[in-house]
């Protein structure tokens, strides 16, 4: 029989008391796990929200009388000028962007999946067209890239553009033109099929007609031309300013602008809030530890006889401390596991009250973290009590009864 087995038998006998002692650790770990779980889900949620604010970079012709603003809100009045970007700059723009983002990730030590194309690069060609007697803006897009960029686009009717002769309509354009899905649409010299309608986006997109870029270029006789390029770098840590500078330096005839980083500002707020909450959780943990110290001192009082017996049977101070450390580890394991479970459940309950529509996921990685934290905390809390226990004199231990 080993010393830890003796300790374990005593722990099992005193299981209610041991559970009670671990309460302090449970509360501390619960708070930390709940905060971390909610914060992580909140970050994902905020990230998703922020993606809707638009691209990270906008590339426009260097000399342009188009006043482009965020989300293209002034597009309604634009006189689509004669300034275009040549679409043969696209490979160069992609290369510069991907290289700089890759470098940005590496410099910041952020792990990433290098799948070749990193950034989403969506060229657009804006043209005015007369359709059924109404003036409409027709936008030539790269359907695949555009879809990745405008993740908030949902199809209300029909489906998304798959072929060269298909058109996707903004909801108000669709209403104004009095068309049905499947109808034929004459744009310039081209006949296209209305393949789908977007749900309302509450943006200029609702008034536009989207067709494949190539088709638009041919239809309006603007082969090789594009009006803008939207670039999304996929991550908030990405150095969009660097990318903008790189494009401006190396690609002639374009002007790249980093879209104001709402994202980083928001994330900064989130991080500050998280830090504040973690400090609170840390305080909870410390208070929990004080609770553990307190209950442990009481339990030493209750066990003064056992301590006396062990000493009289030849236990050294070190061995007694070991027995108490085993108990601390048991308390830590109980506190860590229960704290993790309760904290996760609390996150599921409280999370949606803080962030509407949040999706809480349990984070298994927090379990080992909780265990280590709980064990360290309870060992820390039992240092003084076990030291005191090991110093109890046998004669006193038996007399206090």
């Amino acid at each position: 029989m080993k010393l830890y087995q003796v300790a374990l038998k005593e722990i099992i006998r005193r299981k209610i008391r041991v559970m009670y002692t671990s309460l302090g650790v449970i509360i501390g770990v619960t708070t930390i796990v709940a905060i971390l779980t909610i914060a992580l889900a909140g970050q994902i949620k905020i990230n998703d929200e922020l993606n809707k604010y638009g691209p990270n970079l906008m590339v426009t012709p260097a000399i342009s009388d188009i006043s482009m603003s965020l989300g293209g809100l002034s597009m309604g009045t634009l006189a689509v000028g004669e300034n275009y970007i040549q679409d043969n700059v696209l490979p160069k723009v992609r290369q510069i962007t991907d290289d700089l983002i890759r470098k940005g990730f590496k410099d910041r030590g952020i792990p990433f999946e290098d799948v070749g194309n990193i950034a989403t690069i969506a060229p657009r060609l804006y043209t005015n067209a007369d359709i059924n007697g109404k003036k409409v803006i027709v936008v030539g897009i790269d359907p695949a890239e555009e879809r990745k960029l405008r993740i908030w686009w949902n199809i209300a009717q029909g489906k998304y553009i798959e072929k060269e002769d298909e058109a996707l309509l903004g909801t108000h354009a669709f209403g104004a033109l009095k068309l049905n899905v499947g109808d034929t649409l004459l744009i310039g010299k081209k006949e296209l099929t209305v393949i789908g309608v977007l749900e309302e986006t509450a943006s200029i997109d609702d008034y536009q007609i989207f067709i494949p870029l190539k088709t638009a270029q041919v239809a309006f006789g603007k082969e090789g031309s594009i009006s803008t390029i939207d670039i999304r770098a996929l991550c908030n840590a990405c150095p969009v300013e660097d990318v903008a500078r790189g494009i401006n330096n190396e690609v002639a005839g374009v002007r790249a602008v980093a879209v104001k980083q709402i994202a980083s500002a928001e994330m900064g707020m989130m991080e500050k809030t998280n830090n504040f909450l973690l400090v609170l959780a840390g305080i909870t943990m410390i208070v929990g530890c004080l609770g553990v110290i307190n209950t442990m001192m009481t339990s030493i009082h209750e066990r003064v006889r056992e301590i006396g017996i062990m000493k009289a049977s030849g236990a050294s101070q070190g061995q007694l401390i070991q027995v108490f450390l085993f108990e601390a580890i048991a308390i830590g394991v109980i506190g860590g596991i229960i704290g993790y479970i309760v904290g996760t459940i609390a996150a599921y309950i409280i999370g949606p009250l803080i962030f509407k529509g949040i999706v809480i996921r349990f984070v298994l990685e927090y379990l080992p973290i909780s265990l280590v934290l709980a064990i360290l905390a309870s060992i820390f809390a039992s240092i003084y009590p076990s030291f005191r226990a090991s110093r109890i004199k046998i004669a006193d231990a038996f007399r206090t009864l």
């Binding site: 029989m1 010393l3 003796v6 038998k9 005593e10 062990m310 030849g314 004199k393 004669a395 038996f398």
Partner: protein
């Protein structure tokens, strides 16, 4: 001579509240001795056993065990004495409730770091010696007082101590159980163990070869009673 107390005093409290639990005691215990200590309640018998056995420190004087002073030893050195030279039997048995009889007997061997196999073998042997082999896997709460005290005697014997100190080992037991424990001590002494035992019962004391009478922290009489044996 295995144990000697030289001018030992144990004083509790100070000022007017001063209690001389032991008042300048000198005493020699020889190998094979079987000593009964008697005296009124509060006369200092438990204190004597504690001080002799290194469970408590004397205020004054020297305790010499096997030619070595132990009264001034530090805690670590005292641990070694408890792991072989001196063993204790208490009135309240003092068994660990979560451990079986066998495990309680093994306890001193666990602390002294004996290998698992030896621990068990030795503990079974000692339980056999006190006649409790069949109760080896019972918890203390499943044993009678007399049985619990026999477990505690087995535990005391497991490290083969030079000296056994017993403080009223039959004090909590009914007549028959007390008698069994008493016979156990008689047998152990016949086998060569040195025993110093506190008792309130003159009949039990009469089993011992030597009787020490105690009063107010002083030895008032120390006589051989071989004749009675």
């Amino acid at each position: 001579m295995i144990l000697e107390a030289k001018n030992v005093s144990k004083i509790y409290g100070d000022g007017t509240a001063k209690v001389f639990a032991l008042d300048n005691i000198s005493l020699q215990v020889n190998e094979g001795d079987y000593i009964a200590v008697m005296g009124p309640s509060g006369s200092g018998k438990t204190t004597l056993l504690n001080v002799l056995g290194g469970l408590d420190r004397p205020t004054k004087g020297e305790i010499i065990l096997d030619g070595m002073r132990i009264d001034n030893l530090n805690e670590n050195a005292l641990v070694n004495i408890r792991r072989g030279k001196i063993a204790y039997v208490f009135q309240e048995y003092h068994l660990i409730p979560s451990l079986t009889a066998l495990e309680n007997v093994m306890l001193p061997l666990i602390f002294s770091g004996s290998p698992d196999g030896t621990q068990k073998q030795r503990a079974i042997e000692m339980l056999g010696k006190v006649g409790l082999s069949r109760r080896a896997n019972h918890k203390p709460t499943e044993l009678s007082g007399g049985e619990q005290q026999r477990v505690s005697v087995a535990r005391a014997l497991v490290n083969n101590p030079t000296l056994i100190l017993a403080d009223e080992p039959t004090g909590n037991l009914d007549y028959n159980s007390g008698l069994e424990i008493q016979r156990l001590f008689d047998q152990l002494n016949e086998e060569g163990h040195t025993i110093l035992m506190v008792t309130h019962d003159p009949e039990k004391a009469s089993h011992a070869k030597r009787l020490i009478l105690f009063k107010d922290g002083k030895i008032v009489e120390d006589k051989n009673q071989d004749d009675k044996k």
